[in-house]
Symmetry: C2
Subunit: 143 residues, 2 copies
């Protein structure tokens, strides 16, 4: 039987704040559905050129029990980025904590506003030469 | 800055059992990494023809705290399937509970062994004519 990947859905508390976060990473909104009857909004966001790999932000207008929680059974969303140092600097300038700084020039972790863990990897499996301030930056919390 | 989707990672308790579940859905193993040093195994599984949209099963050999949890901040993984009734029947025959049966011929939800919510949708946004046993099958638990 054929099977095809559609999206990874994540629940959000504050839709605007969440969209802003994913835009910081470079994702674009590709599709949106609003349901007056169901009192929810779905926003699909994907990397440019990858409309087939979206996340689906689900916002329940009347709130959503259990957000943000910190269970580890989800894991994370992972993205390749062109320059991991520039991305982390960009995120920090916009108030995002780099929970696991890219000390190795290769890998970083941040959290979305709803506590989803997001892994950032240097493009194509490469790594940048070690550099400050990342090299001596400690971890913050967990991810 | 360029950004590219890589995978959705989920943590698993029993690697063989989890691989068996995702194979039931039709996913194929595309890549595997074992780390003696880190004491973990990563197994990438994707729908046939979609190697760019894998899930990454992360198995920590010494266990993983907090599995299976039921927090709602993750959401679910979604897949189109060729025939939603046949898929649900196939899953049931293999002991999987259909938490939300496809009463509408269009949508069903199941849980992975690690409690990740999985949405199944009839291929291409279509729906099949309503049919038993689905039509009168109640929900089980939540998803």
């Amino acid at each position: 039987m054929k099977i095809r990947y559609l999206h990874t859905m994540i629940r959000v508390k504050d839709l605007d704040r969440s969209i802003a976060f994913w835009k910081l990473l470079g994702l674009e909104e590709t599709r949106r559905t609003e349901s007056e009857k169901g009192r929810f909004t779905l926003v699909f966001m994907a990397p440019p050129g990858q409309p087939e790999c979206p996340i689906e932000l689900t916002w329940n207008w009347d709130g959503d029990e259990g957000l943000p929680a910190d269970s580890r059974h989800f894991g994370h969303l992972a993205y390749d980025v062109e320059n991991i140092y520039d991305m982390c600097a960009h995120l920090m300038r916009n108030g995002v904590t780099i929970n696991r700084p890219p000390r190795d020039g290769r890998m970083a972790f941040v959290r979305s506003p709803d506590n989803q863990s997001v892994e950032l990897l240097q493009w194509g499996g490469g790594s940048l030469p070690p550099a400050e301030p990342w090299l001596s930056m400690p971890n913050t919390g967990h991810w």
